[in-house]
Every structure is written in C-alpha cells, then in structure tokens.
C-alpha cells in the first residue's frame, strides 16, 4: 500500500449498517440533547397561569433524559459492534493503540500538512484519516463518555440513593468533582465540547466530499466509499 492511498481499491464497503444507524440516531439524539439541555440550564420565559395547567420543564427534562438513554444505549451498541464488526468499526476505539506506531504519526503529519495548506495532495483512506480518527476518539468518544458519566451522576441525584444510577455514577462522581454544582458546570462545558466537535466534523466531511475525490457524506448513507467522477 502506498502512503498516499492512491492504490486503494474502490468501491469499498466501509460503514456497515449498524454503524450507519448508530451514526444518524446518535446525531439526532445529540441535537435533541443539546437543545433540551440548553433549555434546562437556561429555561424558556416563564409560563403564566396555574402550575397545574402546564408541565413545560417536566416535558423538556423528560425529553432530555429519554434522548440520553438512547444516546447511551447506542454508544454501548456501537462499542459491541467495534468488537464484532469490520476493521473500520474499530477505528474510533483503538486510536490510542494506533498512536503507538510511528507509521501512524507519519500519516498523521501528512494529513495535518494538507490541512495546513503545506501539502497539496490529500491522502486517500478507506475509513477515517489520522486526524479524523484522533478527533473521533479525543473529542467525540471521550466527550460522549464524559457526558454520559456526568449526566447519569446528576440523574442519579434525582432518582435518589439506592437507585442504580446513584450507585453506579452519583456516588463517586459528585465527590470527585467536589459538589453537584461543579458537575453541572462541567456538563455544560461538555456540551460545548461536543458542539465544537460537530462544527469541525460537519466542515471536514463536506470539505472532503468536495475536494478529496472520494465519496464521504453519501458513504454514511450507503456504506460504500467510491471514487467520484
């Protein structure tokens, strides 16, 4: 295999169905979580009338919690698929191991050079390039795990001592941060971390789709990566 990937064979089936389903459900859940989460932190204008006639915060919080469960279950499913799925399903999880290889770093700096407009050619890969892999791991995966852990820690405060959410998460996360307010603060910051990731992710998939000569956006729908005409 040449280092610039020009000898790779296309079309190639890269993203298996569970990965694609996970990707889009996850994307939807993230939008719902960000919007509802923001309105939990900074609620909408006060609702007039009797308290018994409305349940706005209740519904917003319910939606947030429901989406959070979907998000968590999908990530667990995805982790399972990393074990049984193809090589590309593992990429996101194994980045720290790849980083032990010098060849990974050579490719990494080639990609970085391209994005810094130092190198004109854009290397081809079946799955993610090295920079994308690092972002998927460092921003998306670690960010998501952080949000799940802190999120369930706060949810466990509501379900109370003795609930599995409390025992598994709140009981150690809250003392770790010092107090509940800090957990809330870092959960907010975690949302922004994922928003930054989303902006960068959207930009680069569209940029790659236009400039790399390979299909990118459509690959996450069909699963196939091919050379564009």
């Amino acid at each position: 295999m040449s280092i610039d990937g020009r000898d790779l064979k296309f079309p190639k089936y890269v993203w298996e169905a569970p990965v694609r389903i996970w990707h889009w459900v996850m994307a939807l859940a993230m939008v719902v979580l960000c919007v509802t989460g923001y309105f939990i932190g900074s609620p909408l204008p006060s609702v007039p009338g009797e308290a018994i006639d409305s349940y706005l915060m209740g519904y917003i919080r319910f939606t947030h919690f429901a989406a959070a469960y979907v998000f968590t279950v999908m990530l667990l499913m995805r982790a399972y698929w990393a074990v049984v799925g193809n090589k590309h399903a593992r990429e996101m999880f194994l980045v720290p191991l790849y980083m032990l290889q010098p060849s990974w770093w050579r490719s990494f700096f080639r990609v970085l050079g391209h994005y810094l407009f130092i190198r004109r050619e854009n290397d081809w890969h079946y799955g993610h390039n090295q920079l994308a892999m690092a972002a998927m791991f460092g921003m998306y995966l670690l960010g998501s795990v952080f949000m799940i852990v802190t999120g369930f820690a706060m949810y466990g405060e509501g379900t109370g001592m003795g609930s599995w959410q409390y025992n598994l998460f709140s009981s150690w996360v809250i003392p770790l941060f010092g107090q509940s307010q800090d957990v809330h603060t870092y959960h907010h910051l975690g949302m922004w971390y994922l928003v930054w990731f989303t902006i960068v992710h959207l930009y680069f998939v569209i940029r790659e789709d236009i400039t790399s000569g390979l299909t990118v956006v459509s690959s996450m729908i069909s699963g196939w990566r091919d050379i564009k005409n």
Binding site: Y38, G41, S46, Y115, Q179, Q181, Y186, L189, Y203
Partner: protein
C-alpha cells in the same frame, strides 16, 4: 454515676408525658420506625449522658447560635440537658481555668467515650498562629482533644469543608478538620449554620444507639443530607410547570414561583431545609423569597455569585460561566472553519486558473 437525661428532665419539672412526646418526635425526625421510640426513651432513661466537649476554632459561633434554637418540644431545657455539655466556651457558666479543668477532667474520666464537637476549623499557616487557644495554636488543642474521643462531630461548613475562611485565596490555610484528624470517625454536619433540629437529632442518635449514624461518601449523615433542597421544595411544581421568577420585583416573585432563574442553588444543595425548615418550622430561605445559596455544599464561597447556577471558570484572566466560554469558543471554531474553507476555495480556484493557463499555452 452521671445522671441520665431523664433524671435531669424530671429534676427540672418536665413531665413523663412531655418526655415521651419528645422521644416520638425525635424518632420521627430521624426517619426511624415508630417502634424505635421506646428504645430512645429507654436509652435516655438509662444511659448516662454522653459527655460532649465543644471546641471552637476559626468560626463565628453561628453553629452554637443555631443549636440553642432547637425547636423540639423541650428545646431550651432538653437540648442542654440531653448532653453533658462539659465544655463550651460560650454556653458554659464557668470560664477560664475552671472551664478548662472541666474539659481535661472529662477527657481523663471518659477516655474513648466522649464526643468531641468542633465548630470552626484550624488554620495551618505560620504553624497555626492565626487561631490561638489558651495561648497555643488551635490545631494543637484540636489534635489533643480528638485523640481520646469516641467520635468527632464537625459542626457546620467550617469544620466540614472550610467555609469562608478557607475561601480563595485562603491566606491562613484554614482546612476542614478531617485534614487534621484522620483516625476518628467524623460526622460532618455542614450548613452555615446547620439546622438546629438536625444538630440535636444527630446528637440524640449517637446517644441512643451508641454509634454514629450512617454516613454518605462525603461523611454526612444520610438521614438529613441524602436529598437536595430542590427535591422536596414546596415550589417544585412551579419548576416542573416552567414558572419562574425572572426579576426580584416581578409578579412571579410575589406569586411565589420557582427561583431557579434567580440562581437558586436548591438543585445542587444537599440539606434538609425544605423539609425540616427553620425556627420551629416557620420558614426557610426559599419560602421567604430568596434562592438557596448552597451554604452546606463544599466550597460554596468559591463557586461564583450566589445568583448564578453555574460555577465561574477563570479563562484568559476573565471569569465567565461555562455557557459563555462554550459559546465564544464555538464562535472561534466556527470562524476558523469559515477561514479554512475560504483558503481552500482560493487555493482550488488558483489551481484551476493555473491549469487552464497551462492548457492555454
């Protein structure tokens, strides 16, 4: 033998009926089953009163002030007779050397059986010289008195977490007492001050059962600190409905809507205020129209304004909350993306014109 709690009450002319009422109320406030009430009565009738040595370090005496206002039926007499409060600088009738001799007698006589109650905390900088107790640094007294104690009670946020004197930059290096006393069970009863009934109930529990109550991971008794103010707040229905006070003088403030947007710390504060309330159950901060400031939480002075729900994050020398930091950074990332896209487009365009020129040659 030291007289029992019951003997003291009888001597003071309190009827057995009032005494039993006190036992049932205490049982209820501890969240125990009704069948425990006779057990409490039995213990108070038979066990010698537990000697308590109450020392004060860097503090404001608000814990003592709260303590003497306990509103159980027999408060004023019972609270002070319930314990054998052998040493308390503010409350004891004796003073000076006499009082000090009292403390030393108790430590001698009840080795391993007395309770050390600590109000306030020790400053450690300059060898503890910022708090002097009988001519010596307070930290030395604290260590000495704690050595033979059965258990240590950390009254208030000072002893539990550090409170205002440990707030940044903490010039005296005041530390919570568990940083100094590491070999004794410590019951943390945070709050600034803690609720009077919570204080007396915890003492009653220790006296009755001869052991410390069940504590959570941060050392607080679960019976009073396992739920947030928000979980039992009487304004909670307004929160769920989405009805908020937006300004201190608006219609919603008068109607008693939820104070969440005014920075109420109820959702992140573990204490019993919304159930036990204060001053014989008269009221608590939220009921009187002001949000909770989270006084029983670790480091509540250093978490930004009392009127913000997010901790300030010092970023680039300015303090901002998480949402502001996040939004600004999102803007920067967005701008970087646009700039990168622009450079990409220009590069592509120049490459294209370059290649057409080359073809035209």
């Amino acid at each position: 033998m030291t007289e029992t709690f019951y003997d003291v009450l009888r001597r003071q002319g309190i009827s057995r009926r009032s005494f039993l009422k006190f036992c049932s109320l205490t049982t209820a406030s501890l969240g125990l089953s009704p069948t425990v009430a006779p057990q409490i009565a039995h213990a108070l009738e038979n066990k010698p009163r537990t000697p308590v040595i109450w020392i004060e370090g860097l503090e404001c005496t608000c814990c003592s002030e709260s303590f003497i206002r306990s509103a159980h039926p027999l408060a004023k007499d019972a609270v002070l007779s319930l314990l054998s409060l052998d040493y308390h600088m503010t409350l004891s009738a004796a003073a000076g050397e006499q009082l000090r001799a009292n403390a030393h007698d108790t430590i001698e006589k009840y080795k391993g059986k007395y309770i050390l109650a600590v109000e306030g905390n020790p400053p450690l900088n300059e060898d503890g010289m910022y708090c002097i107790y009988y001519g010596k640094p307070f930290v030395e007294t604290l260590k000495k008195y704690a050595k033979d104690a059965m258990a240590v009670v950390a009254w208030g946020s000072c002893a539990s977490w550090g409170c205002v004197q440990a707030a940044k930059p903490n010039p005296t290096n005041a530390v919570p007492i568990d940083k100094v006393i590491t070999d004794k069970p410590i019951i943390k009863v945070p709050g600034c001050p803690p609720i009077a009934e919570v204080m007396t109930a915890i003492v009653t529990y220790v006296l009755t059962f001869g052991r410390i109550p069940e504590l959570d991971r941060q050392g607080r008794p679960k019976m009073f600190y396992s739920q947030r103010i928000h979980d039992k707040c009487y304004r909670r229905p307004h929160f769920d409905a989405g009805q908020f006070v937006e300004k201190w003088d608006d219609e919603a403030a008068r109607a008693g809507y939820c104070l969440y947007k005014m920075g109420c710390k109820g959702p992140t504060t573990y204490n019993a205020c919304s159930t036990t309330r204060w001053n014989e159950g008269v009221s608590f901060p939220i009921q009187s129209g002001h949000g909770c400031i989270g006084c029983s939480e670790d480091g509540f002075w250093d978490k930004g304004s009392f009127y913000d729900r997010l901790t300030n994050i010092p970023a680039f020398g300015v303090e901002a909350n998480a949402d502001k930091v996040g939004a600004v950074a999102a803007g920067v990332v967005g701008a970087a993306v646009v700039a990168h896209a622009a450079v990409t487009a220009i590069k592509k365009a120049s490459e294209k014109s370059g290649s057409t020129k080359a073809e035209g040659k």
